[in-house]
């Protein structure tokens, strides 16, 4: 088991009222599994992924990461886990605009103090996997959206994480490119044996996922 949440809750204060973005969620993410979370905008998908990805603190409940309770860990420890064990793919890519594709993929390894030669070798390999060996020295603004998302996928894989968390990875893409990205994510899930958890509206992802959850008003429900 990579991730397990117990009664995970996150509330926000808006003025005088409180909004329950994630409401007592229990979810289990096994090794090599592909999970999709479906729900309308504002249903709590991104908040849940941020909690699982240790980008946010739960109001109550627990997050067990590889059996260890990480819900109350110090920021330093959470960062370490994010760096070594979790790969993020964002809807809006979030590549660093002043770094080339190659440098963006090397970045997480540089942060983890991987020797430069090893960084370069792995970055080249990952960019090969996502089919971008001819775009190594291009800046994000010189890449198409599909290419940019491929770089983001390669970056997410840089430190060989146990889990990839993708927040609407095809949301900004046209259907053909989206299809390519979906195939890529499934390939990675199968070949790299990495668990993938995706928040999406994309029916194709939902159809192919091992497990599908729906989320509505912060409440998560397993689909049959």
């Amino acid at each position: 088991m990579i991730v397990k949440t117990i009664e995970l809750t996150r509330t926000y204060r808006r003025g005088l009222s409180y909004i329950v973005a994630v409401n007592k969620v229990n979810i289990e993410v096994e090794e090599t599994t592909f999970i999709s979370i479906v729900g309308p905008s504002g249903s709590g998908k991104t908040t849940l992924l941020n909690l699982i990805g240790l980008n946010d603190h739960p109001t109550s409940g627990k997050i067990l990461f590889m059996g260890k309770d990480v819900s109350r860990l110090a920021d330093k420890e959470r960062r370490k886990i994010r760096l070594q064990n979790i790969g993020f793919i964002f809807q809006t890519f979030n590549l660093l605009p002043t770094l080339t594709a190659l440098e963006n993929v090397e970045l997480p390894m540089a942060l983890a103090n991987v020797p430069h030669r090893a960084q370069r070798k792995r970055a080249l390999k990952l960019l090969g996997i996502v089919g971008l060996t001819n775009r190594l020295q291009h800046l994000p603004r010189e890449l198409s959206m599909g290419e940019t998302q491929r770089v983001a996928i390669a970056r997410a894989l840089a430190n060989d994480p146990e889990i990839i968390i993708a927040d609407e990875p095809t949301g900004e893409l046209d259907s053909k490119t989206a299809q390519e990205i979906i195939s890529l994510l499934f390939d990675i899930n199968r070949k790299e044996k990495t668990a993938v958890i995706v928040a999406t509206h994309d029916e194709k992802i939902v159809k192919l996922a091992d497990t599908v959850y729906t989320i509505q008003d912060g409440k998560l429900r397993l689909e049959g």
Partner: protein, 390 residues
């Protein structure tokens, strides 16, 4: 990564560096120019350190130079020499040549000094002569020594002749000096100067060398008490008294210098802080993404500090380089010393200590100024930023 960010945002980086460079340049140029002036003024007093200068009561003395006012009858030298506590005396006749130009000149075009032969060192100290020159003989009459700056400006060489009035004077030696005062001097025998400029039996001042161990103040007072009379009113100035005339002025100048430099320093730091704040606020998303990837607090602070430190370092280095050139140019214009003469002495005019201190201050200030935005960058809430800004 941070340096790439600077290199790939060339326009902004260049403008930031230019802003800092301009502020540092102004700071260095103003400081150095003012320091050069105050040094030149203080330098005048080094000619007669410890000596008593006897001048007419109406004479205005700036440090060691009698600028204007009445002269003395030469015979008073014997009275001064006869004062208890005085070992030796040297009478001097000073003649200044000033021209009204568009710029205010700190140093006159030339300073002619008449001095009894054999007493040159009272004025020149250990200043050497340029190759080929020689000191004036004890019997010299129509021979002169010229300062290097004046010689270079007018093309005078050893054994050249110059004509003043009906006198043809031969240049026997050229003083090899960077001193703004000595460099512009024409030194000639006292009698010759008195004759040429029609000051018979007249001197501007008498340098009185006190005996060792005496109280110079007391000797000066004694000279004033014993030699003052209704016909010849004199004053005897010690080094301290001469300094006390100009020190308040110089202190005020230095205070203004400090004030202006402080304002420019604060300006530079403000520029750096603004750059840091803009850099961070514009890249909130980048920092949030870095955070999401697991970048440590130190990594993010280092990114901001390296960028700001680099801008501060480069800006201050360029500023110092330009400031040094500006300072030398300003000093050259205002002292009328050819710029090519000043450049070999650039590190005397612009001291390495000042340069080092300026760079160190700017880099430190840059880093301190960048620290606040850097810490702000580490406090970004990843989930809020990555969600809210799209």
């Amino acid at each position: 990564m941070c340096l790439r960010n600077l290199f790939r945002r060339k326009a902004r980086t260049t403008l930031c560096i230019a802003g800092i460079a301009l502020a540092v340049m102004s700071m260095v140029a103003i400081t150095v120019t003012i320091t050069s002036y105050t040094t030149a003024i203080r330098e005048m007093n080094t000619f007669f350190t410890g000596d008593i200068l006897v001048v007419s009561k109406s004479q205005i003395v700036i440090q060691a130079l009698p600028i204007s006012g009445g002269n003395l009858i030469e015979t008073i030298e014997n009275d001064v020499k006869g004062t208890p506590g005085i070992k030796a005396t040297v009478p001097l006749l000073f003649l200044f040549s000033m021209e009204l130009r568009s710029t205010i000149e700190m140093i006159p075009i030339n300073i002619t000094v008449g001095i009894p032969p054999g007493n040159w060192t009272v004025l020149t100290g250990s200043t050497p002569l340029r190759t080929g020159g020689s000191w004036l003989s004890k019997n010299a009459s129509d021979e002169i020594l010229v300062g290097s700056c004046l010689a270079d400006l007018t093309g005078i060489a050893v054994n050249s002749t110059i004509k003043i009035g009906n006198h043809t004077l031969t240049v026997r030696g050229i003083l090899d000096t960077r001193s703004a005062i000595l460099g512009r001097m024409i030194i000639m025998p006292l009698r010759t100067a008195q004759e040429i400029y029609h000051y018979p039996m007249t001197v501007s001042m008498i340098v009185a060398k006190p005996e060792e161990g005496v109280n110079v103040e007391e000797v000066a007072d004694r000279i004033e008490n014993e030699l003052n009379n209704p016909i010849e009113r004199i004053k005897a100035l010690t080094s301290e008294e001469r300094n006390s005339i100009t020190d308040p002025l110089l202190d005020e100048v230095n205070m203004w210098n400090l004030g202006i430099s402080s304002v420019l320093f604060v300006t530079s730091v403000t520029i750096v802080t603004l750059v840091a704040i803009i850099n961070v606020s514009e890249r909130r998303r980048d920092f949030a993404a870095l955070d999401a990837l697991g970048a440590s607090f130190t990594s993010k602070v280092l990114i901001v500090l390296t960028e700001i430190g680099f801008i501060g370092l480069l800006g201050s280095l360029i500023g110092i380089f330009l400031g040094a050139i500006a300072a030398v140019t300003i000093v050259s214009i205002y002292t009328n010393i050819p710029i090519q003469m000043l450049f070999p002495d650039i590190f005397t005019i612009v001291s390495p200590l000042l340069l080092t201190k300026t760079v160190a201050c700017m880099v430190t200030a840059s880093c301190v100024a960048g620290l606040i935005p850097a810490i702000a960058a580490t406090r970004t809430s990843i989930s809020d930023i990555l969600r809210a800004e799209y």
